[in-house]
């Protein structure tokens, strides 16, 4: 009886330690940036440049914003017509270097109100930011295989994820699920954030 209880407790202990280890390893700074929007994520605004509609990506971005919002009660990004919004989205053609379908950049506002570009390394280590721009290169999006609703949504969801302080899931220790929005480089059909995407978002911002 004593032996059985000890054995059960031992197994339970191993399972708990294993769970804690994997949780710790998967939510480290390789995948979540310490830096974030200075004001938090509960009342962010986003602005879609007219180019987003011209290139037919309005619904994709709206879908991605909505699904990130639905993943945590502490995250809320709402559409704004104000060009001074926290997140600004642009789509162009051959506006990024060869090989880039999308890019997210973070800025702080200096004392003159000018947006100053921040190094992602600084954001990894905790630097706060005030503005984010998201740019999509439509020509390269197509050339790199981000075509069809699901794959375009993955691209838009990925870039918005960076604005919410998510980093690449293929960074060591890598996650295996390439369908995750934050797993870059894979053109998988991912119309919704994965369980890894959601768990990382909640780890960062709360449930």
């Amino acid at each position: 009886m004593v032996k059985r209880n000890f054995f059960s407790a031992f197994i339970l202990g191993c399972l708990i330690i294993g769970y804690c280890s994997s949780t710790f390893a998967s939510h480290d700074t390789a995948h979540i940036l310490k830096g974030q929007f200075r004001q938090g994520a509960s009342s962010l605004t986003y602005w879609l440049d007219s180019s987003v509609n011209s290139y037919g990506m309005q619904s994709h971005f709206q879908h991605a914003f909505t699904n990130w919002n639905n993943s945590s009660s502490k995250v809320n990004m709402s559409a704004s017509t104000n060009a001074s919004s926290d997140i600004k989205v642009y789509v162009g053609s051959n506006n990024l270097p060869v090989g880039y379908a999308g890019l997210t950049e973070m800025y702080y506002l200096n004392i003159f109100g000018t947006a100053v570009l921040i190094s992602p390394n600084n954001v990894i280590n905790g630097t706060l930011f005030d503005r984010v721009t998201i740019r999509i290169d439509d020509t390269q999006r197509i050339a790199l295989g981000y075509t069809g609703w699901d794959k375009v949504v993955k691209l838009t969801g990925h870039e918005i994820g960076h604005a919410l302080s998510m980093h690449h899931f293929e960074n060591n220790p890598a996650h295996s699920n390439q369908n995750s929005w934050m797993y870059s480089g894979s053109q998988t059909n991912s119309a919704y954030p994965s369980s890894d995407d959601v768990s990382h978002l909640r780890y960062k911002w709360g449930n």
Binding site: D49, K88, Y90, G92, S93, N94, N95, L96, P97, V98, G99, Y100, A101, G102, L103, T104, E105, M106, Y107, N110, F112, T114, A115, V116, L117, I118, S119, P120, N121, T133, R135, T139, L144, Y146, L155, H158, E159, H162, H167, N172, S184, G185
Partner: protein, 193 residues
């Protein structure tokens, strides 16, 4: 008399500030690597060749030109660089021993009222160095009517180990290091000389 002393003191302090700012402005270089994006990455030589329009060994010629292309008040740009093609590994062999202009994915901007400049690189890219030879994987962009380095740090590999900046950056990126090893193990030796 007292006012004159105060005036001289103020002038001296102001002069020190101006000199200090000028020195800082000349010497301060901030570096930013833009890593938050969706960049096509390659696992091996075959994929890297497949994803390129032109693959060459080449050297940088002259001084690259910094071209700024801001969008909606936000900074952006590239460098226009002239390379001399030594060997063509994929593409038109007639390009050997010719010079072409390519786009490198980095730009340099002034810091406004803050002293110094900022060098902004896409990904883990490091700029081409003179007197070094490289394998370059290039993509053709019709709209630019020119080639650009394809996938930043995965489109440029130093052959002669003279580019220490590239070596340091690649040491931090296991995927690119593995890719480089695979490329160099499979490229025809005669093309690397």
């Amino acid at each position: 008399m007292k006012n004159n002393k105060r005036m001289y003191g103020l002038v001296i302090i102001l002069s020190i500030v101006i000199v200090a700012y000028s020195v800082a402005d000349l010497n301060r270089v901030k570096t930013i690597h833009l890593e938050s994006g969706m960049m096509k990455t390659y696992e091996n030589y075959e994929e890297r060749m497949e994803g390129s329009d032109l693959v060459v060994t080449a050297q940088l010629i002259g001084k690259p030109e910094n071209i700024l292309t801001p969008f909606d008040g936000f900074p952006d740009g590239y460098h226009l660089s002239t390379i001399k093609i030594v060997n063509v590994i994929k593409g038109d062999p007639k390009l050997e021993n010719t010079e072409i202009e390519i786009r490198e994915p980095y730009y340099i901007m002034e810091n406004g009222l803050e002293p110094g400049i900022t060098e902004v690189y896409y990904g883990h890219y490091t700029k081409l160095q003179s007197d070094s030879t490289y394998v370059l994987f290039l993509g053709w962009v019709e709209a630019w009517n020119q080639y650009g380095i394809s996938s930043a740090h995965q489109g440029k590999f130093n052959i002669d180990q003279m580019d220490k900046a590239e070596e340091d950056m690649q040491r931090k990126d296991k995927g690119t290091t593995n890719l480089k090893e695979d490329i160099f193990s499979k490229l025809p030796i005669e093309k690397l000389n």
